[in-house]
């Protein structure tokens, strides 16, 4: 029955596609809001200008990307062409066989100086967690912002300050999941960065991290959507919050909120493109990706949002903000001044421990 159903849908889809053979519709799924807008300006608009037969349809459902890609692939009814995913989700999707493997040097454009793509993207970013289904666009970081009017005298400057309720009293906001929070708790508790995951691999280590989090538990507002922490900071609901650096930049530079960045132990993550298995028009998808991930395009995106392009060759091309005219380089998480104490996030370790630690974390949270 399922086969009958899906083949009917596929047949209907084929019939529809045949009817509009001239124009190519590409459904590109992203996060909506300012992020999709930056992609629209940096990638979509120039691509459509150069290719009159291509029509790009934005779908803002990336937050549900993993589940929906799985549903589409399992029912043989793939309507999405390209999906924006964070690296951790891409690893899961790749493991599950839901997204296509990528050959960087045939799919992606080389750098202007001829360096092949496989060497021009930041090392390891094309194969997070050992998978090879992911095309990175940007490096973003999850880091802290704090209200500049909250504390007299010293302002918070290290990750330990986040956990220091005496010196820096007030509510905090953290993401409602174990990832990053457990690492930061251990780092604040004095664990050396290199030992964090080894510590967390033991029950005692997890309990140690939770015990550190216990010291601020009553004062934490837990966020689930990226838009929440900048809002909480802007409203004065919290004095410190973990957030995506681009969201904080927007609150600081575009909305002039009294917020400052705390870059210590920022956690890099990658956001990029994946292609669902069974995509209808692979050639059109590849043509778009070749264009949209080249050196200039990635550098262009940084004009509209403060995330760092994932290519070495793009970094020197990052210019000024398109509207504000300020130099974007110091606002990039990859800027040397910001990246001095980055924490190396371990995708593989989390793929192993996510299921278990979700339960542990949620139990701790509920009690």
């Amino acid at each position: 029955m399922r086969w009958l159903l899906s083949s009917t849908i596929v047949a209907a889809g084929v019939a529809l596609a045949a009817g509009s053979a001239q124009a190519v519709d590409l459904t590109i799924v992203s996060w909506g809001g300012a992020y999709t807008a930056s992609q629209q300006k940096a990638y979509h608009d120039p691509y459509m200008a150069a290719n009159a037969d291509v029509n790009i349809i934005n779908d803002d459902n990336a937050a549900e990307g993993l589940a929906k890609v799985r549903a589409q692939v399992e029912s043989n009814n793939v309507t999405w062409d390209i999906v924006d995913m964070v690296a951790a989700d891409a690893i899961t999707a790749c493991d599950e066989g839901l997204i296509m493997e990528i050959d960087p040097d045939t799919w992606l454009a080389p750098a202007p100086d001829g360096t092949p793509a496989s060497e021009d993207f930041f090392a390891g970013t094309l194969s997070p967690g050992g998978t090879n289904c992911f095309i990175p666009q940007i490096v973003y970081s999850t880091t802290f912002g704090y209200r500049t009017d909250a504390f007299e005298g010293d302002q918070p400057s290290t990750i330990a300050d986040v956990f220091d309720m005496e010196k820096y009293p007030g509510k905090r906001s953290l993401e409602r999941r174990p990832i990053n929070n457990l690492e930061w708790a251990l780092l604040a508790d004095g664990v050396a960065p290199a030992d964090v995951y080894a510590t967390l691999s033991t029950d005692e280590g997890v309990q140690r991290a939770l015990a550190k989090l216990d010291t601020i538990k009553d004062q934490v507002v837990w966020w689930t959507k990226g838009a929440q922490p900048p809002q909480l900071l802007a409203d004065g609901e919290v004095v410190m919050a973990s957030a995506y650096n681009g969201r904080l930049f927007s609150a600081i530079a575009e909305k002039n909120q009294p917020i400052a960045m705390l870059w210590d132990r920022q956690v890099f993550d990658l956001d990029g493109w994946v292609v669902p298995v069974g995509v209808k028009d692979l050639e059109a998808v590849k043509a778009y990706l070749y264009f949209a991930t080249d050196t200039q395009r990635l550098a262009d995106q940084a004009k509209f949002i403060s995330y760092g392009p994932a290519r070495y060759s793009s970094a020197p091309l990052v210019g000024n903000h398109a509207d504000l005219g300020i130099d974007m380089k110091p606002h990039m998480p990859t800027d040397p001044n910001n990246a001095a104490t980055i924490f190396d996030f371990d995708y593989v370790w989390w793929a192993d421990h996510r299921a278990e630690l979700d339960e542990v974390f949620n139990t701790w949270l509920a009690k």
Binding site: T224, D235, G236, L365, A366
Partner: protein, 420 residues
């Protein structure tokens, strides 16, 4: 009915009356059926299939045996209770399975499946997939053990043995904070991982309280709606329905703006001197937030069934009760209220069922202490992709709803329920 042919009632031209009647009504029955075909098909596709599919996913375990067919077959001859590792031929089967599934890109799925039961299997499989390519000849066991020492761990093999069958109970056990070991013995999970029963419990009691709040707030409104002259009641009805015209997110965000500690309500109370600036009340990102926002969102679902029942209660009932000597209060309690029971039942069932399934609102305003089991289900659906566990949690939730519905039927009677 008589079997003798002579006794059969016949029409004027000798056809048995029953046959004739059946023919005469056949056309009508076909037409009736055709009328319901579209909705039937719609329900099958959008409701029955997904529910059945979900139920199946909660026990489906074919992924392990389909990715590791040789291994799961070979390991049947091994006793998981023995203190020894499986024999050489099991390792040989494993190597062949891993090589094949690594090429097909299916190894990761089995790894993720087994990783739910034991952290680390995921990376063990991925690592083994990359390295097993090189193994081409015996001894397989030694070479596999050389890849990763976890292949020498009895627990790894016990797990594969345990999850070899096509159906599994482990999702359901996990959803009830239980685990099963290779011996088939069921035990509680470690205490710091027991979360689901607690969340079920919290979901139920908070939803129950939300239902009570909706009833307490909605009953007077519904009474007003039903008794006011139409000119006023229409306006009131529009006010009641107004929340439906705004999106859920907007309403929820509005509650945040109202209730947060730097929000409108706290500002007002500080301004009026009820509380000090340092003593602002925490009314959101906790249970209170969930209660307030959910009660507000679900209130119309209580008011409308109540209103539709109350509208049909003639005003003469109350007057009759008064004329018979009952005070206004007695008249209301003894005569009016019993007649609204169908509406109370319908409203409560509706609100309660909607409440235990809500997840957006609790996620945004519930904070640490005001989130529901549905938030965890959503996490497993869209983030961890553990659909088996999500399905098991969903089936348990469904069973709870059916159980409550059954209890309601026994106590009040479903026939006594009126949705309008």
């Amino acid at each position: 009915m008589s079997t003798a042919a002579d006794d059969t009632l016949r029409t004027a031209d000798g056809v048995p009356l029953k046959t004739s009647l059946r023919r005469a009504t056949a056309r009508r029955r076909v037409r009736t059926f055709l009328l319901v075909v579209p909705i039937l098909a719609f329900l099958m596709v959008t409701f029955v299939f997904p529910v059945v599919d979900m139920m199946f996913r909660s026990v489906d375990n074919q992924i392990v045996s389909s990715v590791l067919p040789r291994t799961t077959l070979a390991i049947q001859s091994w006793d998981p209770g023995s203190e020894e590792l499986p024999p050489e031929f099991v390792y040989e089967a494993l190597v062949l399975d891993i090589q094949e599934s690594f090429k097909d890109k299916t190894l990761g799925r089995a790894g993720r499946r087994l990783n739910y039961e034991k952290s680390g299997v995921m990376s063990l499989f991925r690592k083994s997939g990359r390295r097993a390519k090189r193994i081409t000849e015996a001894p397989f066991k030694d070479q596999v053990l050389a890849i990763d020492e976890r292949w020498a761990d009895l627990e790894t093999w016990q797990l594969i043995h345990q999850e070899s069958s096509a159906l599994t109970e482990s999702y359901f056990l996990s959803a009830a904070d239980l685990r099963v070991d290779y011996k088939g013995e069921i035990s509680w999970k470690a205490e710091e991982r027991r979360i689901y029963l607690f969340l079920f419990y919290r979901t139920l009691w908070m939803s129950g309280l939300i239902t009570v709040f909706c009833l307490l707030l909605g009953y007077p409104i519904a009474f007003l709606l039903a008794t006011l002259p139409p000119r006023h009641s229409n306006l009131l009805l529009i006010l009641v329905l107004l929340p439906f015209w705004t999106s859920l997110l907007v309403r929820t965000t509005a509650w945040i703006a109202l209730l947060q500690s730097e929000g409108v309500l706290n500002d007002l109370m500080v301004f009026l001197g009820f509380i000090s600036d340092d003593g602002r009340l925490q009314m959101i990102h906790n249970k209170i937030g969930t209660f307030v926002a959910m009660t507000h969102i679900l209130l119309p679902f209580m008011i409308l069934p109540l209103y539709s029942v109350m509208k049909t209660i003639p005003s003469s009932y109350m007057r009759a009760a008064r004329s018979l000597g009952a005070s206004p209060f007695t008249s209301f309690v003894r005569v009016y209220m019993p007649n609204t029971v169908p509406g109370i039942g319908a409203g409560c069932i509706l609100v309660f069922i909607l409440s235990i399934g809500y997840y957006i609102t609790p996620a945004l305003v519930g904070g640490r202490t005001g989130t529901f089991i549905s938030n965890i289900i959503a996490l497993h659906i869209s983030e961890t992709l553990n659909w088996g566990l999500a399905a098991a949690l969903g089936v348990i939730l469904l069973a709870l709803v059916l159980l409550l519905y059954f209890l309601y039927d026994r106590i009040v009677g479903v026939a006594n329920m009126k949705l309008g």
